[in-house]
Amino acid sequence: MPIDKELLDIVACPKCHGPVALADDESEFRCAACRLAFAIDDGIPNFLIDEAKPLANAKP
């Protein structure tokens, strides 16, 4: 299911509360400041910091 575009503006990084960007393929949200990627499974983003991947290793 596509990510709801209208609600994107009320999402933020759980660590720094700054903006996160949706990856082009809609597979994850990314926080550029914290260098973290939050995976999206079946349309539901996982914003648990412990389960986020370092952004450097995330797929482009």
């Binding site: 009320i10 939050f38 983003p45 914003f47």
Partner: protein, 267 residues
Amino acid sequence: MVQQDVLETFKATQRVGWAFFAPLENLTTPTAANLVRFAGVRAGQTVLDVGCGTGVVAVTAARKGARVAGLDLTPELLERAHENSRIAGVEIAWREGDAEKLPFGDAAFDVVVSQFGHMFAPRPEVALGEMLRVLKPGGTIAFSTWPPDHFMGQMFALFGRYLPAPPPGVTPPPLWGKEENVRAWCGGAVKDLSFERGVMLFPALSPGHHRESTERTTAGGRKVVELLASDRDRMAAFRTEYHELVAKYLEDNVVRQEYLMSRATKV
């Protein structure tokens, strides 16, 4: 200072423990409507449901025309929540996350609600601080919690007598059901704090039926069963105590479970 890894372990246990809660959504559906009414949710508002479980409050708010996000720690419950919004024909931003680390910006919501959800976060001041952070000044925070002196609070206390003590720094959830605690934790961050009592009706053919449901669906109930599986005497003692407790609240095949609703305006 509480050890961070102790809290993370506690949360990981909670996350798994609540995975089987979905069948109880029939009971939390009517009380969800009561909370949405109490919170005064209107069309066009942005609403966050913290500890949304299967999404009953979030879906109710969305059906009123609000733009809603629902957050929970347990992926199995979010799967059901997603299904619930699909069936209802509403779009909701479901998020897997921690009530103590909300993935939202400051002052993002008009209303922040929680139905028997945020009360299970280990540190009231942290969860409440986050809920107030993401709430707009002048916005409404409203939540339903179980008081310690009524059935559910007594049930949690019973679990507590048969389970190991929670790690230091974890506040017992029913403390959220006392008005003076809510008042103290909110402090000067809110105004117009008010309270209302509600009743959740739990149909049960016998005390045993209620216990069987609890042992199957709740984190505490499942843990007791797991822990006492090899201790028949203690298991029997637990079940006897449970039946005695339920019997006090069971009348005409319904268990009356009283709860507290709190509502305030962010300063």
